[in-house]
């Protein structure tokens, strides 16, 4: 089984991603980063997830309080004030593992071969780790990232939330030369959870699935209010890419992060010009299409295992 660290900011879709990963990958730890909500809220949510998923063997480690340089922005209009509204979940009693997420990532990478990172929030922790330990570049096998877009944005017209929150961090990560799989909005918009999926999850006879159904109901509500056709399964796509790579089609592209634009700050520029001599060589694999039916089958079958 592939050894992974999940770096996240739960987040409804982060919750689903964690539950999906835990049954198919060797999750060595969950690190949190300020993103969808404050570091306190997302860290509390991460602990809630390992509790309602009965995954308390997996250590949770608290990470960066905010972006490298800019002020934090949150997405409570999508995820609610707690960052994971919609379900009655008791305050967690599980303790955090001591230390900072950045050091956990470094220590684990230096002592684990073929480590894969699954970053699904702003890339602040990853960037800090890369800067703090230059040898990290050679120790990480792959990063399957949820972030960016090869088409249009969500938090702004041009930028996807995770990259927008900390474009400087994203720029550091994208230039690190570590192999990257990028699952951006152009992909994740193809995987929309709807009422029929929630109904199917509601039928599953375990408490974890019931919590998921509640959370998804809230998330579908805010998505619909923002004129979306369903609740996009952003973060789980990055996990699905590691569990079943045949489910997703990737294209090699040259991608850079814009860090100085007025209207384009946080944009991932994916050069899709056909065979142009001006294009630079590809530096990552960008996900372009996904089999949505297969994805939901995997997700729902996995929830049955809880």
């Amino acid at each position: 089984m592939t050894s992974v660290i999940i770096d996240c900011d739960p987040g409804h879709d982060d919750a689903l991603a964690i539950l999906l990963a835990a049954k198919h990958l060797d999750v060595l730890g969950i690190t949190t980063v300020s993103g969808n909500e404050s570091i306190d809220n997302v860290t509390s949510n991460a602990l809630k997830i390992v509790e309602f998923g009965n995954l308390t063997d997996i250590p949770v480690i608290r990470g960066a309080e905010g972006p490298l340089f800019r002020d934090a922005v949150y997405a409570s209009h999508v995820h609610g004030k707690s960052g994971m509204d919609g379900a009655e979940i008791p305050e967690p009693t599980t303790k955090l593992q001591e230390g900072h997420a950045v050091d956990f990532i470094i220590d684990t990478a230096m002592s684990t071969s073929d480590l894969v990172l699954l970053p699904m929030g702003p890339l602040t922790n990853i960037a800090l780790a890369l800067r703090k330990e230059p040898k990290l570049r050679d120790r990480i096998k792959l990063m399957s990232i949820m972030g960016g877009s090869s088409t249009s944005g969500n938090y702004t017209a041009a930028a996807e939330f995770n990259i927008y929150v900390d474009a400087e961090a994203a720029d550091i990560v994208f230039r690190s030369e570590i192999p990257i799989l990028m699952s951006g909005l152009n992909l994740t918009r193809q995987v929309l959870a709807k009422q029929e999926h929630i109904d199917e999850i509601r039928e599953i006879n375990n408490s974890t699935a019931q919590v998921v159904a509640d959370l998804l109901t809230f998330y579908l509500g805010t998505s619909t209010r923002h004129s979306h056709d369903g609740a996009a399964m952003h973060d789980p796509c990055a996990v699905a890419a590691m569990i079943d790579p045949t489910m997703i089609e990737f294209e090699p592209m040259h991608v850079v992060v814009e860090t100085t634009g007025t209207h384009t700050y946080g944009m991932t520029l994916c050069d899709v010009r056909p065979g142009s001599v001006k294009s630079k060589p590809a530096n990552m694999e960008v996900a372009v299409t996904i089999d949505s039916d297969r994805f939901f089958k995997l997700l729902i079958d996995t929830l049955r295992m809880y």
Partner: protein
């Protein structure tokens, strides 16, 4: 003269030449003037090419005015690898006996717009330097423009950079001025620009035609086949003119647009806000101020565009 009164602003340019042939020959259009802007090639080359191609179209009576030599801020870069050193794909046209008028392009347009009680249509096929300068010096003309048809920008991939299209990238500040002017605009973006194409056989047939315009058009398209090393050649800017002839053959969407001026990688990008919004509950005036006045050509009927080009250049 019957037909819709239009002004063309060009940086001739192989496909600008195609657009000029189409506009000058179409009975539906009455070209009242052509203004030149530096872009594909330097200004004096643009002027020469424009005069010469209008001569081919028997349209030397149309006034041609010389405009801005440089973009508002940066030094110019040109596109000779696409349009050839002379800007017409290496094709030599017989020299027109006409010359440019005395007035600067901006003065000419201001005067013409002021002179008429009807509203005018301007078709801008190069960098927007002339148009922006016009709007800045003579802001009153804005209310007299019925429609501004622009070839520029890109929703998806760019051409000169991965996200920017050539005309906008050549002068982003000018584009910013124009898009902030609230003039009703039809934007013929790079995404549709490349779609109206002819293959080598069709191009050879055009060249072999008895009709001089059609034959020259064929030669211009042939130059594209050679320099771009593709199997088909597109009519480019001429498609923007065609939008005026067959508006029923295009699909458009109104989208807020911003021009990125300072991005390290994104200078010159047209940023479109494609996110869905429920605006129907707002008053129309407020809806409009959110959505803007730019109508973007999202799709077109390729066959109709190919036909309207071939049918009109021989008229």
């Amino acid at each position: 003269m019957s037909g819709r009164n239009i002004f063309l602003d060009v940086d001739t340019g192989v496909d600008d030449a195609l657009a000029l042939l189409l506009a000058a020959r179409s009975p539906q259009l009455n070209v009242k003037g052509v203004t030149c802007v530096a872009g594909n090639v330097p200004i004096d080359r643009v002027v020469r090419n424009t005069l010469d191609i209008l001569n081919v179209a028997d349209a030397s009576h149309i006034p041609v005015a010389r405009g801005m030599e440089f973009p508002l801020l940066e030094n110019m870069f040109n596109a000779t690898e696409i349009h050839g050193e002379n800007g017409l794909g290496g094709i030599d046209l017989p020299a027109s006996g006409s010359t440019v008028i005395d007035k600067h392009a901006v003065e000419f347009l201001a005067g013409e717009i002021d002179n008429t009680s009807e509203k005018v249509t301007i078709v801008a096929l190069g960098p927007l330097t002339n148009i922006a300068t016009l709007f800045r010096i003579y802001p009153n003309v804005v209310s007299s423009i019925e429609q501004l048809v622009i070839m520029g920008g890109a929703i998806g991939s760019g051409n000169i950079t991965s996200t920017a299209e050539f005309n906008i990238r050549q002068d982003p500040e000018a584009a910013d001025v124009v898009f902030n002017s609230d003039v009703p605009t039809l934007l013929y973006v790079w995404d549709v620009f490349t779609r109206v194409r002819f293959d080598k056989q069709e191009v050879d047939e055009m060249i072999a035609s008895d009709n001089n315009c059609k034959s020259i058009a064929g030669k211009l398209l042939l130059s594209y086949l050679t320099t771009k090393k593709e199997d088909t050649a597109g009519i480019g800017d001429a498609g923007a003119v065609a939008c005026l002839l067959i508006p029923e053959a295009i699909t458009t969407a109104v989208m807020p647009i911003s021009v990125e001026l300072i991005g390290e990688h994104t200078r010159g990008q047209t940023v479109f806000d494609q996110r869905k919004r429920k605006l129907s509950r707002l008053q129309p005036k407020i809806q409009k101020s959110i959505s803007g006045t730019t109508e973007v050509v999202m799709d077109l009927d390729v066959e109709s565009f190919r036909n309207v080009f071939v049918d009109n250049i021989v008229k």
